[in-house]
């Protein structure tokens, strides 16, 4: 009972990045535990997925040929069956939206301790997990009791594994007759569209919670007019209905890669950063010097946006 099992994730025919990151995290943990590292892939084109996941870090790959897309009932049942077969010390799952939709059920069903959204994992006779709290303002260290545990990992925290390995790939059969059918996926829909594609913009001016009131958005629109920038935003602005969904940058919005990304009044929560870290140059204006946005910014101004933005507009008038 020193092995590690990681369940990969895919959507619409493509493995997601967290699948390769989970291989790195799982391998590190397996080395610390002194066991083998197993990767499982459930549903879809499992044979092709297994080939991609077969990197040098992996000892064994299990394919579960059941359905095409993520279905939480199938994933829950398959993961439990794999767990019973492999009996790993650690079950590692992605803390993605689909991870949120089945990992808690698996941990509860197995009756195992569950640490979510890990940004660091260590095993030294016991599992220690690094997590963030209070919107990334603090980091915490959490000890997990028990010989077996479930941990979900945050995307983007581990390097992605790559290269070709020689892990043995085997098909895993489990009894699907007992799988619940209480929820049925009807389909997918792309959201957004609308008047403008922020993914095409060379210069994005993006606004966050710091704008405080909807009418203050006019100030940012003035800046966009003066500079020819395209207006985008972080999630709260869209949640408030101040800008349409197609303007949202982030994990659940659009991923953008402009030449310059000017983040105004945006703290830089991990979900937002996931959508804009590919920008060539990142500039932040924020009154909080400790805002995480400054960790990834190339240039920054610690100041009140209501002072700085009017002064910036004047520069281009």
């Amino acid at each position: 009972m020193s092995d590690v099992l990681f369940v990969a994730e895919h959507r619409r025919g493509e493995l997601r990045d967290v699948s390769y990151e989970g291989i790195t995290a799982g391998r590190e943990l397996a080395d610390e535990l002194g066991g083998d590292f197993h990767v499982a892939v459930v549903s879809g084109g499992v044979e092709a997925f297994a080939e991609s996941l077969n990197t040098p870090e992996v000892d064994a790959i299990h394919t579960v040929d059941a359905g095409e897309e993520f279905d939480h009932d199938t994933y829950t049942a398959a993961t439990e069956a794999l767990h019973a077969e492999i009996d790993p010390a650690a079950l590692v799952l992605p803390n993605s939206v689909n991870g949120l939709d089945y990992a808690p059920a698996v941990a509860d069903e197995l009756g195992l301790p569950y640490a979510t959204d890990a940004v660091g994992i260590e095993y030294d006779g016991g599992l220690t997990v690094t997590r963030e709290m209070y919107g990334s303002k603090v980091e915490t260290t959490v000890d997990v009791a028990g010989d077996q545990f479930v941990v979900s990992i945050r995307g983007g925290e581990w390097a992605a594994a790559s290269g070709a390995g020689d892990a043995e790939v085997s098909a895993f059969d489990f009894d699907e007759s007992g799988v619940a059918d209480g929820s049925r996926v009807q389909g997918f829909e792309e959201v957004g569209g609308g008047d403008v594609d922020i993914g095409d913009a060379e210069f994005l001016v993006s606004i966050g919670r710091g704008i405080e009131e909807e009418e203050n958005l006019d100030l940012i629109r003035d800046l966009c007019d003066a500079t020819g920038a395209t207006l985008s935003s972080s999630r709260p602005i869209v949640d408030n209905g101040w800008l349409p969904k197609n303007r949202q940058v982030g994990q659940s919005g659009k991923q953008v890669t402009p030449k310059v990304y000017l983040a105004i009044g945006i703290s830089g929560a991990v979900q937002h950063v996931a959508g804009m870290k590919g920008a060539e140059t990142i500039i932040a204006i924020n009154s909080d010097p400790n805002a995480p946005i400054f960790d990834i910014a190339d240039y920054g101004i610690v100041g009140d946006l209501f002072d700085v933005v009017p002064a910036l507009i004047e520069q281009f008038d």
């Binding site: 997601r16 993520f70 939206v97 689909n98 939709d101 990992a103 808690p104 059920a105 941990a107 509860d108 569950y114 979510t116 959204d117 220690t128 963030e132 709290m133 209070y134 603090v138 980091e139 915490t140 260290t141 959490v142 000890d143 997990v144 619940a180 209480g182 929820s183 049925r184 996926v185 009807q186 997918f188 829909e189 959201v191 957004g192 060379e202 210069f203 500079t227 920038a229 999630r235 994990q251 659940s252 659009k254 060539e280 140059t281 805002a291 995480p292 400054f294 960790d295 190339d298 240039y299 920054g300 101004i301 100041g303 009140d304 002072d307 700085v308 002064a311 910036l312 520069q315 281009f316």
Partner: protein
């Protein structure tokens, strides 16, 4: 029908703060209803308001007496009554883990027998993001996580939800009831509590329960996770910071924008 909404009072942290041992010093905290739960309350109240039949909305929380002030916000926004669970054994936990929370809510569900349970996707403080789905598994309900659109009318046997996946993709799923749905921000526009609502909330019941009331003991909340350290993450910033007046910093920033070629001379 009955809708149970799990709600939580969470602490918001000021920009500058200090950590005292394993917690942020009380001076830097401001308490409020968890943002995700606010949307869940609104979703429940909207179902109740649109229904022909009687729909009772019950808010359930795990929190100390102080949290009643916050829970009254849920009542002021339209929840009919609330249940608040607290106990010395809960207070002693450094970190109330998912299993402990679910053990408590499992008993609340057994008492209330709701048709629908709404939770926020996560709590802004501990950010586990797991209580709703784990609870569904424990009580044998269906579930959906990260719901940003809900098509459900009181009395229906199924709900159609949209789940907000990463990258601007939504999954459309039909779910049988009873079910637990974890609600994402932006699903609706949470109302402000009206003065009338706030007055009415004073008359509504917040029933206190301890573990023994729910047939539980201290062991049921003795989780496997123990918080052993809390610290401010080290800044990895290598940003060039412009300093000075707003005019000075704006001028430097304008010069960067011109250098990068994204605005004209």
């Amino acid at each position: 029908m009955k809708i149970l909404v799990t709600v939580k009072e969470v602490a918001a942290v000021e920009d500058d703060f200090e950590i005292d041992g394993l917690a942020i010093d009380e001076r830097y905290l401001e308490y409020d209803l968890n943002e995700w739960d606010d949307y869940a309350v609104e979703a429940a109240v909207q179902i109740a308001e649109a229904a022909d039949e009687d729909v009772e909305v019950v808010a359930a929380t795990i929190g100390p007496e102080r949290s009643e002030e916050t829970i009254r916000m849920a009542l002021a926004k339209g929840a009919d009554r609330a249940v608040r669970v607290w106990d010395d054994a809960i207070a002693e936990q450094s970190l109330l883990d998912v299993d402990a929370k679910v053990s408590v809510f499992e008993q609340v569900v057994a008492e209330e027998d709701p048709d629908l349970v709404l939770t926020g996707v996560q709590a802004a403080d501990d950010a586990f993001g797991a209580t709703g789905v784990a609870l569904a598994n424990r009580v044998g309900y269906q579930w959906a996580a990260v719901v940003n659109d809900l098509d459900y009318a009181a009395g229906d046997e199924t709900a159609t939800v949209r789940r907000e996946l990463e990258g601007g993709v939504e999954e459309i799923t039909e779910i049988d009831l009873p079910a637990v749905l974890s609600i994402q921000t932006g699903i609706n526009e949470p109302r402000y509590a009206s003065l009338r609502g706030i007055r009415q909330a004073q008359q509504k019941e917040i029933a206190p329960r301890d573990l023994s009331d729910l047939g539980l003991d201290a062991e049921s909340v003795d989780g496997a996770l123990e918080l052993v350290d809390m610290y401010e993450p080290e800044s990895e910033s290598d940003a060039t910071l412009f300093e000075g007046s707003a005019e000075d910093t704006a001028a430097e920033l304008a010069s960067v924008l011109r250098d990068k070629g994204v605005v004209g001379e």
